[in-house]
Assembly symmetry: none
Homo-oligomer: 228 residues x 4
DNA sequence: GATGAATGAGTCTTCATTCAT
DNA sequence: TATGAATGAAGACTCATTCAT
């Protein structure tokens, strides 16, 4: 209920919809039920607001990625867990993810540097896993960079079309993407069982969502809130 | 050298860099070396300018996609050709493609409807090929929609990172992506030979590119202008 | 001293002088001693500003007209009182009246509809009085509509030439016009005595006037602030 | 069919509708079916165009007024003829009259001086007639200026409401106004017979009118094109 | 005679932000 | 903590006009 979170929620909804540059500070404060000057008190300005949202998103993503990788030493398993975690983040926070992915260019100076560094660190996780797995012979990859980028863009795409009330559950979606990633790398299929307990992924305070649904990535059998 | 093309080129460069909303009409006309009123004379306004760019891009993409599909009756071959054509378009027109992909939300009214319809028609090509190939037994696909979206996002990602002066040629890139798509669908690999003569893909008049390089998708041996 | 009134005053002066369309928002805010953005804060925009001025003017006019009619049941007396009230309004607020009379065409949508409805309601007062008086035999009128329009245009004309520092007082002017209206309708002359206490007419907050002179329609002996 | 007249016709229609300042040169040339540069060739610019329209209108009005006055030495007859002529001009050229009456303020420099001088000359006709008639004892007028202005505003009002397809013919309208003017001045009634042959009044080339109807002020018995 | 191109100055309006209260 | 007031700069767009063709 804290004001900053109310603001962030409104901001994410609007930034995801119209884009950062096309969103006015008055629309924003209006949507949050505040005076525009009050917004400055809590959020410190339009760009600071964006940066705080992206920072939190990337922190959570990075943390989830690190946990995913830490759960195993086997590159195929690591990759499957990494992809599952990423899809879980995207599907739990589609709007925040979209903003984080699209609006790096709207940051300036230190904010931009900082955010890009986090993004690069996250990408490093994929690079390392793929690289090690190819060296191991676990993966059959013609070009490392191309494959890494293809996998990442595929995963990032989720926030463009994911519908929390859609046909597939978030867990099923993660299954599908893990499988695709294994195929792309020529790895053996890593099923949900072999991947182990999924990484814990938060619903960010900035994510508007009708109801702040608890993470359901684990143990759900596909009957209820569906995706795609 | 026609004025409209000069304007479109400047527009694509700026729209791709800062986004449509963050680009001022004065920056735009300045970059095109024109008075801002002259820009209106030729381009009819900011949104009209964007729409004309996107329209041309999607027309070319749709045409390329239709040619790709028309070249064979075999779904795996069709898919490989479709992906190759898409990657060719993206790599020949990375900035225009980025704008076309990102700025649908900046359109209003009839422009938006029109552009979305073209985009949907293009997506239909992928849907049809995947669907037929799965029915045929050519593809091993768990969920059609997810796979289709994954492939398309992966391909669309190219405009986010492709560097015309990079390591891989555009043709090599197309090879890599065709292979990835085959793997994702569980199809047999369709090499460059089997895919046949690649679809002709234009460098759009709106694409700024350092040099308006002729299309090299075919018959290139990978040594010169490199990608990624 | 409230800012909106300062703005309205400047607006009326300029709109009356150059017309609404020919008056720039920068001239306007300059004349009011404000930044142009501040003008929007208070007045909500150029057309809204115009509408607020006209609304207030027509409200006062309508109210004065209703009081005039309510003061008697005798059509000649009602007409004389109506004309006196109208002339009083015009002479107390010549600039505001001019704007209100001339700029209906500059309004759009709901503002226009609203203002036209008020103007029609006011005209109805004249129509009813003339119609009843003719039926009574109090008036000798060949064509009702023509006579009504002639009287109203004659009265509206006051704002085109009235000079608060001129030769005639506002009260004397009202005498003259009441007499003319009686003649035009073939009614017996209704002197100031028979017409009774004149209707109270405000100097509108939008009226610039050198000095915000109190209404002197009653009991003035003609020596001081003169008209025409 | 001459181009200048086509332009003037379009201009009068637009100026009467939206006002001079609110009418763009491109709307104007568009309505005339010309390129905007061509308009400059024929009309010499926006203000020149307005001035030429007003000049012609005031010339015709002045000429008609002079003829009216010249037709008799009897002030009541002169007044009746003057009013008839004025109403005839207004009803034959309502749009041009409106423009001429409203847009003096849009002129600058020499154009303004010239037009105002013509208007003043025309007003002088009324002033002289009223003044002489009052000295004669033909008129019963309390205040010369007031009465003159009232009569003139009443007559000018015609262009605000006259409808060529309305209920009254133009001749009947002239009758009504002549009668009203006689009443206002306390003169004996001057019927159509006594007033004699009405002054010839042109339909100006600038007047748009559905059909360039010939002047019907004389001898028409009210059956066909009706007014008010 | 007629026009497309071109422009500098202008249009109204909204921007993100600050600050006194 | 919260906000109405205030603003300089910028937003997209239109203006009347000129001129080479």
């Amino acid at each position: 209920m804290a004001s900053l979170e109310v603001i962030q929620r409104a901001a994410v909804r609007l930034f995801a919809g119209r884009g950062f540059a096309a969103t006015g500070i008055r629309e924003l404060s209006g949507a949050a039920g505040l005076n525009s000057a009050t917004l400055y008190h809590y959020a410190g300005g339009k760009e600071e607001l964006l940066a705080s949202i992206m920072r939190a998103c990337l922190q959570a993503l990075l943390r989830a990625g690190q946990q995913a990788v830490a759960g195993s030493d086997d590159p195929p398993v690591q990759l499957a867990r990494l992809v599952r975690a990423h899809v879980a983040m995207e599907s739990a926070n589609p709007l925040t993810s979209r903003v984080t992915d699209h609006e790096v260019r709207s940051l300036t100076g230190g904010n931009r540097t900082e955010i890009m560094a986090m993004r690069d660190a996250y990408e490093g996780l994929f690079r390392d896993v793929l690289s090690k797995g190819r060296a191991n012979g676990d993966f059959d990859i013609a070009d490392l960079t191309t494959t890494r980028l293809a996998i990442m863009e595929m995963c990032n795409g989720v926030h463009n079309w994911f519908n929390p009330n859609g046909r597939l559950t978030r867990a099923a979606l993660a299954d599908r993407f893990a499988d695709l990633a294994c195929r792309m790398t020529g790895a053996r299929a890593i099923g949900r069982r072999e991947a182990g307990r999924p990484v814990d992924v938060p619903v960010l305070p900035s994510e508007p969502g009708p109801e702040p649904e608890p993470d359901q990535a684990e143990g759900d059998r596909g009957e209820s809130p569906a995706a795609v």
